[in-house]
Amino acid sequence: MERDDLIRLRQARDRMDRAFAEPLDVPALARDALMSVGHFQRSFKEAFGETPHAHLMTRRVERAAALLRNTDHSVTDVCMAVGCTSLGSLSARFTELMGETPSAYRARSHEELRGIPGCIAKQITRPVRVTPKRSLSEKRA
């Protein structure tokens, strides 16, 4: 992939991260990245390891986890706050990525994260899908 494409994909991802609570508009992101929708989807996945939609859901789960750790808002309110329209789909994705339901996650103490800058805490607690991925070098061969 050209380095300029990587830069445009990074900018698309940054835009998604800023507006994570808003609906995903892949055609608009692809247009800004100077790619067709299909090419944008494939290139995004190659560069970042997950599709735009999967990345957005990961970001929303990450944000939901922070709200569950730091506030008293109900799980339903947290779901709305991160832009999900369905409590069921957020809970399912949350459980898939975090290994426990939002309620169970809230019930645990998170003492070990006190005092760590949020940007680092987000990286440490970032949900990771536990399925093997093909390495990029295999794809390029």
Partner: protein, 161 residues
């Protein structure tokens, strides 16, 4: 009272920020952020360019070009350049007395905004941009006192201590 030892005088002297274009990065750190160029010399294709903040005369920020790194293979240089383009090659957090003022100035320079100023759970007010090379740059000010926990559930109090 412990006697001074060799390591008790240690301080951070250099931090490295990667770049693919020295001039663009200088426009950001020297012109927009107002840092001072301490050293800017070349030897062949290798450029050693460092800047200092107004408040830390002993600390030099080194602008390191990913493309020309002595002793590094072309494949590794390309890998670093790709990671830099994706914004994954490091970050800097700066402290400031005026997060909103810094935000206005840096945003006005046309830098890519990652996050508008916001008070954070982790006890700071901060904002974030990308520098011209793609590195994440955050500006933060510690919030006075402890985070307000009114209306919050204290999980530590309810857990076994």
């Amino acid at each position: 009272m412990t006697t001074p030892t060799a390591v008790s005088t240690l301080s951070v002297a250099n931090v490295f920020v990667f770049t693919d274009d020295h001039e663009k990065s200088l426009a950001f750190y020297r012109d927009t952020l107002g840092f001072t160029v301490a050293t800017d010399v070349s030897n062949g294709g290798f450029r050693w360019c460092t800047l200092k903040t107004p408040t830390q005369p002993e600390l030099e920020i080194v602008l390191q070009n990913t493309g020309i790194y002595p002793g590094m293979s072309e494949a590794d240089q390309a890998a670093m350049a790709d990671l830099l383009a994706k914004g994954m090659l490091g970050a800097l957090i700066f402290g400031t007395d005026d997060v909103d003022g810094v935000f206005e100035r840096v945003a006005a320079s046309g830098a890519e905004v990652l996050q508008e100023p916001a008070d954070q759970f982790y006890g700071v007010r901060d904002c974030a941009f990308r520098d011209p090379a793609g590195n994440m740059i955050r500006f933060k000010k510690d919030l006075a006192g402890s985070p307000d926990t009114t209306g919050w559930t204290d999980h530590a109090a309810s857990a076994d201590n």
